[in-house]
């Protein structure tokens, strides 16, 4: 476990460096290396989570440190998907170092796994949390594209000479792929919320607790994205406006995820 953890960390670190190198040099061989290093890191990361699952006898989600590791895993999964489909690697420059930091935090800090009550341990929980985490990951990818859009747009407006030599995606690509990430995120989040609600209502025969702080924040987040996607279709809110929406949405996710976890009382301890 110790060794595997270090190895995963090292590979993610190498992948981060390769991504940064690619962005500065634009050499395609480096970008291939970065992609494969990330894939390898992801495979090890998966094993790491699986081992922890077996070790704890339950899906490792009870502690927020575990959930950070899982979120990092989901982000890398989304990134690899995008990188594979679009051959675009620039997002990795943001995402892979973030994953590196996340698992460093998740596994290096001592943690007191409290364990969940037995009645919460089932496939409902698994699909509910997995869907919501994957949606977060998609939104974070949208955020990454939003940031890249704004950087690139600024360069275009300033007529920066470095513009043509950088290896960020074009404005159209950042805008379009970012938008698709949002759509995918909204679908996943919606499914996750529905499963959570149905499970609470029927499987556990509990009243919906609308006022749970996590639920409120999640709805707010959901609304931000749905509104952005809707206005894009009707009024053409694309480009800079879409990028800002992705950033605001990301801030909302941070509140939902970290803020509520750490500072507000909620039945969603993770």
């Amino acid at each position: 476990m110790e060794f595997l953890f270090l190895l995963t960390l090292l590979i993610y670190l190498a992948a981060s460096i390769l991504h940064a190198l690619f962005l500065t040099t634009g050499i395609s061989r480096i970008s291939e290396g970065a992609f494969w290093a990330t894939t390898m890191g992801f495979a090890l990361h998966t094993i790491l989570i699986a081992l922890r699952w077996i070790g704890q006898g339950q899906f490792p989600m009870a502690h927020w440190l575990d959930s950070i590791s899982f979120l990092a895993w989901a982000i890398i999964l989304i990134y690899l998907g995008i990188a594979y489909m679009t051959r675009m690697r620039a997002l990795g420059v943001f995402v892979v170092p973030a994953a590196f930091a996340a698992i460093l935090i998740a596994y290096a800090l001592p943690q007191d796994a409290p364990g969940l009550p037995a009645d919460l341990q089932n496939y409902w929980l698994l699909s509910h949390t997995t869907l919501i985490f994957l949606s977060y990951a998609a939104f974070i990818a949208a955020f990454g594209f939003g940031v890249m859009y704004l950087i690139e747009e600024k360069k275009l407006r300033r007529k920066a000479q470095t513009l043509i030599h950088d290896h960020f995606p074009s404005l159209g690509s950042s805008d379009e792929i970012g938008h698709r990430c949002m759509v995918v995120g909204v679908i996943l989040l919606t499914l996750g919320i529905i499963i959570g609600a149905v499970w609470t209502k029927y499987a556990r025969e509990l009243e919906w607790r609308w006022l749970d702080s996590k639920i409120i924040f999640t709805f707010a987040t959901w609304l931000i994205y749905v509104i952005q996607i809707g206005i894009r279709q009707v009024l053409g809110w694309r480009g800079r406006k879409a990028a800002y929406s992705a950033i605001i949405g990301f801030a909302a996710i941070l509140c939902t995820y970290a803020g509520v976890n750490l500072f507000l009382p909620s039945i969603h301890a993770f």
């Binding site: 000479q161 043509i164 074009s170 009024l235 694309r238 406006k241």
Partner: protein, 433 residues
Amino acid sequence: MNQIHTVGTSHHTAPLDFREKLAFSETQILQAFPLLKEQYHFQEAVILSTCNRVEVYATSDVAGEGVPLLDFLTAYHRIDPQTLKKFTYTHQDEDAVRHLFDVSASLDSMVVGEPQILGQVKEAYDTALASGASGQTLNRLFSKAISVGKRVRTETNIASGAVSIGFAAVELAKKIFQSLKNKTVAIVGAGEMSELTAQHLVENGASKVIVANRTFERAVEIAEKFDGIPLAYDESLSFLVDADIVISSTDAPHYLIQRKPLAEVMKKRKHRHMFLIDIAVPRDIDPQVGKMENAFLYNIDDLEAVVASNLKGRQREAEIAGRIVEEEAIGFYSQLQLLKVTPTIKALNRQFQGVVERELQACFKKADLSSEQQALVQSMTQAIVKKLLHQPTKNLRQKTNDVDSEHVQYIRALRDLFALEDVENRTETEDQT
């Protein structure tokens, strides 16, 4: 010794009207090859003739500067030798190798990093190869020059960055749009530059062209060239609703495309990105347009700044490329020296003969032989040496005819095994005395 000579003229050394006089057409090149061989006693020749340079590469057994090549050019093109000398350069051996590598790496081109020259070098080589004018030395030299040209282009950024206004526009468009496919280019006004820019955009994927002009007939005329759609110009700019890339170059004295009507157009196209290129002087597009969301405005100065910065970038890359060329030229030339089979074979023969000679003398001292018997023994030993060396010599020469460098290893092995390194130098000095 097999020497490489080159004589050439290029945009660096001669004006166009002189280069024209020296140029070779394809047929002339084919005519020139036998002349070079028979009248001027060159063994191999390659002629490179482009609009920016004319260069003749040849190998010869005769030592000396490139005078016979100059004579050939004087005679062939009937040019005054003094003028020819003034506008040409000559290189020998290692310098000739370095020069050709510089040329194929496009370091000697007017625009450093331009792509055509590599193809032209290849063409010149293919022509010579097909007509049998080039042989082992020049075949090796030109294959290497082509691979050096490729290496420089992949390992440095010498060929990156647009160096013309039209290509700069294409590169910028690629930074704005996900892809140029299905994008519509609008040409407003007329002009060579705007048509050329539109042409580049179409070649890079833009699928539709619309042309707007105050006179509709003129619009029709230009639209025909691009299979495009002519439109009448109108103040509301409504013809721009479908346009993703707008190239404007009219001679209007005021701004044709103003912020307010364009804002309406942007609304109608749901704020899809628009790239506006203003190449008119005085300008056609209100600079305020550049501040609108999702509209990106570049004027002629901006595009020229892009080109200038790219050229500067290429100059920096050219230094790195120069080091690659230097390294390759030295490597190639020293390998070429090794390739020379004849001196190796001579040295080997001499060494064997030397051993036989010494042993014979020792033997004659001990045994009392008549001069007839001595002659018999001598001729027998010489026959043995000859027969022993016959097969290896034959094989070695055969190997040299292949372009791959496998036989270099044979030569190196031979030199190592028989310690021939010093022998060659000695034989050369002996040859001269």
